[in-house]
Amino acid sequence: MKPRTEDGRRSGWGFLLAFVVFAAGVIASGVLVYRNHERAYRAEVEHQLSAIADLKVRELARWRRERLGNGNIFFRNDAFSAVVRRCLEAPEDADARRELHSWVHGILQSGHYDHARLLDPQGATLFSIPPDLPPVSDAVSNRVSEVLNSDLVTLLDFYRDNQDQRPYLAVMVPVLDPRPGARPLGVLVLRVDPEKYLYPFIKRWPTPRLTAETLLVRKEGGDVVFLNELRFQTNTALRLRIPLDRPLLPAALAALGREGVIDGMDYRGVLVVAALRTVSDSPWSLVARIDATEVYAPLRARLWTTIVMVALLLFGTGAGTGLAWHRQRVRFYREQYELAEAFRASDLRYRRLFESAKDGILILDAETGAIMDVNPYLIELLGYSRETFLGKKVWELGFFKDIVANEEKFVELQSQEYVRYEDLPLETADGRRIDVEFVSNVYLVSRHKVIQCNIRDITDRVRAAAALKQSSQELQEKNVELERFLYTASHDLKSPVVTIRTFLDYLEQDIAAAQAGRIEKDMTFLRAAGDKMARLLDELLNLSRIGRIVSPPVRVPLRALVDEALAAAAGSIAARGVQTKVDDRDVTLQGDRLRLANIWQNLVENAVKFMGEQTSPCIEIGVEPRDAEMVFFVRDNGIGIDPRYHAKVFGLFEKLDPKAAGTGIGLAIVKRIVELYGGRIWLESEGVGKGTCFYFTLPKAIDNPKERERA
């Protein structure tokens, strides 16, 4: 079970680790993808900004060349100079004026200029289209002499007009008199209104953008001057000036001649991405810029999308992993539970087995010999309390002395692993002795050695075996007796037959020889043999009847039986003058009355018969308790019996004195009857002339009131 728990814990950490690794992977790829995308997007934005800036710069340069080109039409143009001279010389010459007007008017039609005027070297307006213009702006008139001296077409950069305060540019063309030594005629000024083309062009953005803007700037001293109107601030053209040293200002960097794409902070203090360019052959620099927020807005959206997706993925994976882990835990705990349940069921089964076993079971600690458990059957069997057993060393239990007497015996159990004792005595708490079979087994229970002892009560078995043995022995004895009976019967019956047949022949011979004395003697033998045979047959029949024909048992006082016996032998008792003493102790017997009476009758007759030469013959009849049993006796003071013949007297047809009357069957009959009532018979006699006492017991005939009640 332990490794399983570790497995469970490890799998939990495994799940967590797998999830962390996976999450890290997902986040890393999310970041990587986002970074790639950001880089690509940034590159695209820069490319776009650069393209726009380049386009505008090219267009602006082209535009400037065009304007200068317009001026060059009139520069060193003799025809135009001639027309101008004619107009100066003859101001009222309408043709000349018309001709001059047509020259200039065509240029004005191009759409970039709002008016044209011709200034004299002092800056006074000589001629203008349209006519009647307000005086020329100072910015223009101040440059006249410079232009004339330079002898070049000049593009006058943004300036603010004195009259309307709006920004303008101007193309100034010196008009010279081709004639040698002649003074310059004046300067043709073509005023450019940036609102007409330049500003809209600058403002134009090829894609719809919320914060995209193009700035045109120039450096003026330590400042950068903004030349166009801004998207987020009004009235800026030529008015907004910012020091060049302001950091990260794209306009300032551009004015300083820096080119390329930068991240900066524009005039509003907002982070922007800007492409910087200078316009060739001009003081101008161009800034094309977009607010960083707009540039990165899609990126931010993309970032959020990525984060959400990563989060969703992580959540999904986490949930999946968690679910898998949970299911794994559930399965694990279910298995644990089932295991525990199975273990519990098995444990219960074995406990029931232990508790309900009809064998005594003792569980010992194999190392110490201490009793760990004892089952109820053993407690009941031996009658000692559970506490008597538990914790004790097995050899400390006194009643185990025949099984495990001491520690050495225990070591024997321990080392033998299996011990079996077939039949050992055990004493129970109430002193009963029972026979047990003892089996001990050593085995391991979770790395701990225990000895299980099974103690089986085999008292009944042992008793039955003993009873069987006894009855078989009795049967064998009976068999021997029967054989002996047959043998003696045949032998003893044969004897008179031999006598009769032989003496009949003698009788015949003696009659023929007429020997009267011999005839008398022959007849005596014949008669005696006949009598003996008749008596033998009678008594054999009598003997065979004992135990075979049984009258219903009756209760009869001992006194009555003894009286009957004495009455039957009254003749010989009186003849021999025998004195009788009876002490019946009021004992009552139960059984076949005739048979029981037969015992005393035979013994009394026997006693009278062997009184011998006793002058004061006496027979005592009585009963006495001896060792918890009633012992009956018939005692005489007759001839006694030699101790050598004590066993022989009870044999069938055994006679100690061949001359004595009787067949030698009387005591055999007595023995038979006594045995029938579960008793035994023996005699005590110190020898010849010392008298004889027959003792016998009749357990089954004892009329026990308690026994009767129980029955």
Binding site: Y487, H491, K494, V498, T499, T502, D505, D642, K648, L656
Partner: protein, 146 residues
């Protein structure tokens, strides 16, 4: 057949049977050599010269014993056993004369070195013939050491 005639010790409890044996011996004029005792104990007493058999003149050593098996007090087989285990007595031939034809009796008797085993015939002629043959064999033909 010189010197003292052989004395025959008859151990027989049945008076009638003893009478039959005596009458047969009378016929062969051997009756004066027959000594009769009625039980095993008396036989042993005679052989060991005890209890009234002490006088060798009245109770001479028998030359042969005719022994019944069923005897009062000491059984015939017991008597046989004692005779045959006694160095002094064992040379005396012991002839069993009994009514028993039981195999067990014969086996026991010969087992205890009985010299012969005779069963009493139930009719007169055979009994007489047996006694006559016995007389010739054991008393006339059989040789004894001195």
């Amino acid at each position: 057949m010189k010197g003292e005639p052989i004395v025959i010790l008859l151990v027989e409890d049945d008076e009638a049977h003893a009478e039959i044996v005596r009458r047969n011996f009378e016929t062969f004029r051997l009756a004066n050599r027959l000594i009769h005792v009625t039980d095993g104990q008396a036989a042993l007493d005679y052989l060991y010269r005890r209890n009234g058999y002490a006088d060798p003149d009245i109770s001479p050593r028998p030359g042969i014993v005719l022994l019944d098996l069923r005897l009062p007090k000491v059984d015939g087989l017991e008597v046989l056993k004692i005779i045959k285990t006694d160095a002094q007595l064992s040379p005396i031939p012991v002839v069993i004369l009994t009514t028993s034809k039981a195999e067990g009796d014969m086996v026991h008797a010969y087992g205890h070195h009985a010299n012969s085993y005779l069963v009493k015939p139930v009719d007169f002629a055979h009994f007489t013939q047996l006694m006559e043959t016995f007389g010739y064999y054991w008393l006339a033909w059989n040789q004894y050491p001195h």
